[in-house]
Subunit: 485 residues, 2 copies
Amino acid sequence: MIQSFARIIGFEMESQQDYHMSPEEFRRWGYQAINWIANYLENVENLPVLSQAEPGDIRAKLQDAPQRGESFEAILKDLDEIIMPGLTHWQSPNFFAFFPTGISAPSILGELISAGLGVQGMLWATTPACTELESHILDWLVDMLGLPEQFLSSQAGGGVIQDSASSATLVALLAAREQKIADINKLVVYTSTQAHSSIEKAVKIAGLRRENLRLLEVDTNYAMRTSALQECIKADIQAGLIPCFLAATVGTTSSNAIDPIPQLGEIAQKYKIWLHVDAAMSGTAALCPEFRWIHQGLEQADSYCFNPHKWMMTNFDCTCFYVRDRASLIQALSIMPEFLKNQASDSGKVIDYRDWQIPLGRRFRSLKLWFVIRHYGIEGLQHYVRKHVALAQEFAEWVKSHASFELVVNPPLNLVCFRHKGGDRINQVILNNLNSSGKLYLTSTKLDQKLTLRMSIGQATTERINVEQAWKLICSQADSLSKTV
Amino acid sequence: MIQSFARIIGFEMESQQDYHMSPEEFRRWGYQAINWIANYLENVENLPVLSQAEPGDIRAKLQDAPQRGESFEAILKDLDEIIMPGLTHWQSPNFFAFFPTGISAPSILGELISAGLGVQGMLWATTPACTELESHILDWLVDMLGLPEQFLSSQAGGGVIQDSASSATLVALLAAREQKIADINKLVVYTSTQAHSSIEKAVKIAGLRRENLRLLEVDTNYAMRTSALQECIKADIQAGLIPCFLAATVGTTSSNAIDPIPQLGEIAQKYKIWLHVDAAMSGTAALCPEFRWIHQGLEQADSYCFNPHKWMMTNFDCTCFYVRDRASLIQALSIMPEFLKNQASDSGKVIDYRDWQIPLGRRFRSLKLWFVIRHYGIEGLQHYVRKHVALAQEFAEWVKSHASFELVVNPPLNLVCFRHKGGDRINQVILNNLNSSGKLYLTSTKLDQKLTLRMSIGQATTERINVEQAWKLICSQADSLSKTV
């Protein structure tokens, strides 16, 4: 029967044809790929930072799917000719937009080895090293950042790698929601007007009512006003609603504002609200003892996250998420079907990380983090944090001493918010001209309804010369505008 | 002031110290990493497939975080000595457990280049090529698999890469939920008793009531009974509930059962229920025209997904998710904060994929898929599907003709469900002995409450000899048991 089956589907069982790369070919093209990346990173400083492509430009050059395989040479050629003009170079030392997306040589090699192993870490049993290395390194980071002990895996809590701070916020909200045995329509979420959009997105995803999301007023530093929070909670309780989740930020995306965690923690405890602290970009600063004040009060938090994929030279995706009571998280996310049952899980002696996240499958992401920490050492990681903060502080001084620009807020760390005193239109023109020059890439936000430029310094290869050059370009834009206006 | 600031934080601005790898070092260690992977994949066949580590074994060998950086040599050494014994080798040709997690040389190199570029594709504007290549290849796959045209980006629908089928189910459910302007507590979700656990997980995450998830009975082939569905819907409507979401499976995890999509599509349309079709593993079969019958009726689906990271030699994570009406998905997931506003998004001419997924950030995942399709060509990809199906069919014949074993169901594709006729205890012993031998790795499920062994054939490097050898080991286990019993 199998003979006829093989004949029907036109497949010859004894066919010797093989479409895989041989190990020799893999070595050859692997070396080429490594060279390609080395060349790219050596030259990225000279490329226009922001892609100048128009919608449809890239697709117009892409062909149909090939019937027969092509050479790797042809693929690399198209990478250069078709893909390259459509890239914005996030790894340029002149990239000052959004927040940085850190990479580094050891991180790239960690990703490479992880891809080569191709293991799945959904359960401890499906690849023990994937789970144990992750727990171990997440414990390292508790010490390295001076985080509260409640987040250690030897306590009731523990850490896990998520894909992003968005997902970290979501799973924290799910755990909080699960603890309130109540009508979902009555649960209320609190955050500030300056909080990341991922909080509103998490509220939507988790099925809570959007009208039950409170965006609280901020103070002159753009940090949450605790009085506003307290009043809001009281009013909600009076209205028969149930306070559930408080999302505080250490380093907002707009201006790097730091919410008053100690006071928020007290309020959260008083009203039995889950306190989640999002330090996506800024958390990395706590590698340096002199910046650990940003985490003051964190011992009252139920969950916390920061992103090594932003400021710690580790490739996206790598968000470190910590929870005080892992049981609450597992309760919210655990499902154990028959095909996943195994002795180790039954024993209760192991962590099955798929119960700590949205997806089932998971890559071996702790490898890259391990490679980064071991290559740089704590000392090397501290070096770059200190360098970026010092550069940002110096940049802020330049802004202050310039007649046409103003500092919008004193930068606590490595993000400088500033604007031309001439108003929104001028700032928009400056921004557009700078970005279309290709020489640097800046983004903007609105603070007090005014367009504000953001100088975000956190690229691993950014040197003082890049920051100086950026400031000169900004000033020359302002000069030429004041001449034409 | 900056002088004193620098002094306070102990950082010398003019410090020349650099902790990065030089380009030369990156090349050197990059070649080593490539060699390491080539050696690993050449020898993986000889390693014990299932890790024999006990809980805590790996952590016990891991050190503290280093204060000073270490050599890459030391890291690679620990990789060999500490990590290797804790790996289950998912890329072994003797891996027949769960479903395969495909990788291949071009895919590894695609991941490598993606890591080296380190771009973010959250918006079209943040890296145009990342979005356009993804749309283009997802369109390729509509043609390559013969999927309905409604899923093309030139129509009202479109495709996007998700991390996993779990997340695809979740975002589909969120879009469905958003369309029903109704009390979330009244929404009902339908699937079969054989559906993947990710559906229950999605229901939990989306905030629907778990008691509103209907696990419908299956027929003798473990496919959903349409009569059961219809009755259930009627009863729910009568009870004042609102049918919302129907999750059908093409190739269940337990037994590769295929739900009757044409009939389910009619019912879904009649009652205005969102029909999501999950073909995570099996969808890849449709690369071959002779297997496209698995997708019959798909033109009635609102959404669909399959995972190139399972059977199409593309590294995890890579789930291709398609939606008929992209506006419904975007409506459910879009948030546009000030710091992400840009001209391209405002123009409406581009796709911003962050509105199609849970996280905000996204890697350049289409690169690896592009590399895989171009390297193998459609012909090469078809070759492996045909080979695996033929091997599984042959294996099923061997089971049928053995006196002590029985086939539990005729395998539609590449997953064979079988058991020893001696009952659960014997099957469990056979399974444990096989897996602890290290010579192969099989997993089990329960079908009709009986323990059932799953022979899943989909590893890119599995040859006929590996399947033959597995069968001999299984038979010899059965023989030795019948002698001792």
